[in-house]
């Protein structure tokens, strides 16, 4: 039969991390939201405890942690900071950094990732463009070879962590066209340091995953040495897809963790709030939606950990990336929607209080909405990916 238990190591990790986060992160969650910044000491504590870049190889500053351990970390971080800002900071590095870890040049990976692991840099993903989000191969940023360098021109949009990269150092795994006429077969990945000459940045005022910035980046004649190339020339699309699939599992865990924390919060609220002379929790009209949300979240959790397990199978050479990608897409299809639905229900239970900033519910809602609208791939894109398998590529409505 299937064994659903976590290993001793995983349990000890979850418990130790929960203890740590109760001390260093949970009490700061509201501050992170209002100050719009993850405090340096929080980043340092996460670094000191081996959480940043934990999935990288030890020789690149990580711990070689499994995807299941990485997923536990993100779930727990989002429980402690339900705005998901801190979780996203960590998960972008842990997933996209892995692409540099696996396919980048060793010396570059060591330098960049070990700095990020110490909290002295941020490693993000530069994929989306103003004219290309879901259509990942439809972008226009271009790199042209010039001797042992590449010259990059273009613009990236809706990019997480730009202010953090400016503050801490670091850079972006950047998806560019090296052979525009070849579509997805003409894409290459580069590591682009945030301080490379020719980069200008700006920021969006978004709905409010406030603790982590979202911005844009214009690249004008940005010269990048060939050593910063990740993988082979023109072979980047596959690597980018791998990055998305890795990230989707963590993203789902972020939504889940936030919603789980809000479930506990709301159940407690319902026990304490007295209406019509009895606790709110006594009404079945209150109990039932909470229980439904709980069940939906547990089902989502099973899907997420199955995806994480599948990614570990892929990393161990026992499965193809596609086998992991299927579960990752299903997890990403479920988690943001179930979490948003659940938190909406919780806000109803908490009434006016849940609409105030004295309660964490509105902050969690703003946070998980970022994944509901599309970060790391829109919901319909998950459906497209899965439909391709279910009915076959020949039945896609277009190419």
């Amino acid at each position: 039969m299937v064994d659903f238990s976590f290993s001793e190591e995983e349990e000890v990790f979850r418990q130790s991390l929960r203890d740590l986060l109760a001390e260093i992160l949970a009490p700061r969650a509201r501050e992170i939201d209002t100050e719009r910044r993850i405090p340096d000491d929080v980043i340092r504590a996460l670094a000191d405890n081996g959480i940043l870049c934990m999935t990288m190889k030890p020789e690149h500053g990580g711990s070689g942690a499994s995807w299941v351990l990485g997923t536990i970390a993100i779930e727990e971080i989002a429980r402690a900071d339900p705005s998901v800002a801190t979780a996203v900071f960590v998960l972008v590095e842990n997933s996209w950094g892995k692409i540099l870890d696996l396919y980048g040049r060793d010396d570059v990976a060591r330098e960049v990732l070990s700095a990020a692991a110490r909290g002295e840099g941020f490693v993000g993903i530069n994929s989306t463009e103003p004219q290309s989000g879901s259509d990942v191969a439809g972008f226009t940023t271009r790199a042209v070879r010039d001797g042992d360098h590449w010259v990059i021109n273009g613009e990236k949009a809706f990019i997480s962590g730009i202010a953090e990269a400016q503050r801490l150092g670091g850079g972006y795994i950047t998806v560019v066209k090296t052979r525009p006429e070849a579509g997805s077969r003409g894409i290459t990945l580069f590591y682009v340091p945030i301080d490379a000459p020719g980069i200008t940045v700006g920021f969006y005022e978004d709905m409010g995953r406030n603790g982590l910035s979202t911005g844009w980046m214009k690249l004008k004649d940005v010269r990048i040495p060939d050593e910063y190339r990740i993988g082979e020339v023109d072979q980047g699309f596959k690597l980018a897809m791998e990055g998305f699939n890795r990230a989707r599992i963590f993203v789902s865990a972020g939504c889940l963790g936030s919603a789980e924390a809000m479930l506990e919060y709301t159940a407690e609220y319902a026990r304490n709030r007295v209406v019509f002379n009895r606790p709110l929790a006594k009404f079945e009209g209150i109990q039932f939606p909470l229980v439904d949300a709980w069940t939906e979240l547990e089902a989502t959790k099973l899907m997420i950990y199955k995806a994480a397990w599948a990614m570990d199978q892929y990393d161990a050479g026992r499965a193809t990336l596609w086998e992991a990608a299927r579960w990752a897409a299903m997890a990403k299809l479920l988690a943001p929607e179930r979490s948003v639905d659940a938190i909406k229900e919780f806000m109803k239970v908490a009434g006016a209080y849940g609409y105030t900033k004295d309660s964490p519910l509105e902050m969690a809602f703003r946070g998980v909405m970022s994944y509901f609208v599309g970060a790391e791939g829109g919901q319909n894109i998950m459906r497209l990916i899965l439909a391709r398998e279910l009915v076959g590529k020949e039945n896609l409505p277009y190419k």
Binding site: E9, E11, V12, S16, G64, L69
Partner: protein
């Protein structure tokens, strides 16, 4: 210095459920390392970091069913090893489940002798679930070693003794105790470290040894029940449901005090 730390897998009292007037459902409650024992482990590890030597953690499994508790015990051991203990010795035997403190101390003494010698034994002043606080003292007696309870500071110098600080009422007492000795510590002594991911991953490579009572040459079932727990029930709590209505916080506070006086609480 070779230090032994005693670690109890205690019932997680927060997970203990009971209907009023009924016994708590002990078999269904999870267990975890008793918090104060983590202070003992922390102290042992920091002594080793200061003066060298080794740290061995010892635990006798008191709660059953073993089929379930073994898994929890392995998790607990991993946490203690991740904190820095070098090895973990777990005495697990159906016959030791529910044993009283005398038997637990005898089993610990046998395990310590089998895996020793040790210079110092550190333990929490009591465990979260039963808070008897007897095991360290009874162990000292079994071993014939001196015992200092309730330490909130342990200073290891050179030579064959350690200085121990204890809070006694309004006073602070410093005693010097010859080694080998048993010392119980309070939660004030330190702040137990939370293991890092790397330490957790490395803990998997450290030895965890499981011993049965027969491995230790101790008597089997039936032994060690000098004290038997006859019943544990959760008290019936009755609410009076007094609602205090007042115009101002001041008036509310005054009425509350009045009510509490009337109830004989203050």
């Amino acid at each position: 210095m070779d230090v032994a730390a005693l670690v109890k897998l205690a019932l997680d009292v927060e997970g203990l459920r009971a209907e009023p007037g009924e016994a708590p459902r002990v078999d269904q409650a999870p267990t975890k390392v008793s918090e104060i024992d983590l202070n003992a482990v922390e102290e042992a590890v920091s002594i080793r970091e200061r003066v060298g030597g080794s740290v061995t953690a010892f635990s006798v499994l008191n709660w059953g069913p073993l089929s379930r508790r073994m898994r929890e015990a392995r998790e607990a051991a991993k946490r203690v090893l991740a904190m820095g203990a070098d090895r973990f010795v777990l005495v697990a035997d159906e016959a030791a489940v529910g044993a009283d403190t005398g038997f637990t101390a005898a089993a610990l003494a046998a395990a310590l002798r089998a895996r020793g010698p040790f210079d110092l034994v550190l333990a929490g002043e009591g465990t979260e679930d039963s808070f008897g606080g007897l095991v360290p003292g009874r162990l000292a007696q079994e071993l014939g070693w001196p015992y200092v309870p309730y330490a909130d500071g342990v200073e290891v110098g050179g030579g064959g003794s350690v200085r121990v600080r204890r809070a006694v009422g309004d006073f602070e007492e410093v005693v010097e105790v010859d080694l080998p000795a048993v010392i119980s510590v309070t939660q004030e002594i330190n702040k137990p470290r939370i293991p890092t991911l790397m330490q957790i991953l490395q803990a998997g490579k450290k030895p965890l040894e499981v011993l049965s009572l027969s491995d230790l040459g101790l008597p089997g079932p039936g032994a060690g029940r000098g004290v038997r727990v006859s019943s544990v029930v959760s008290p019936r709590v009755e609410r009076r449901g007094v609602v205090i209505e007042a115009e101002s916080p001041r008036e509310a506070a005054e009425r509350l005090v009045e009510e509490l006086r009337r109830a004989g609480v203050i």
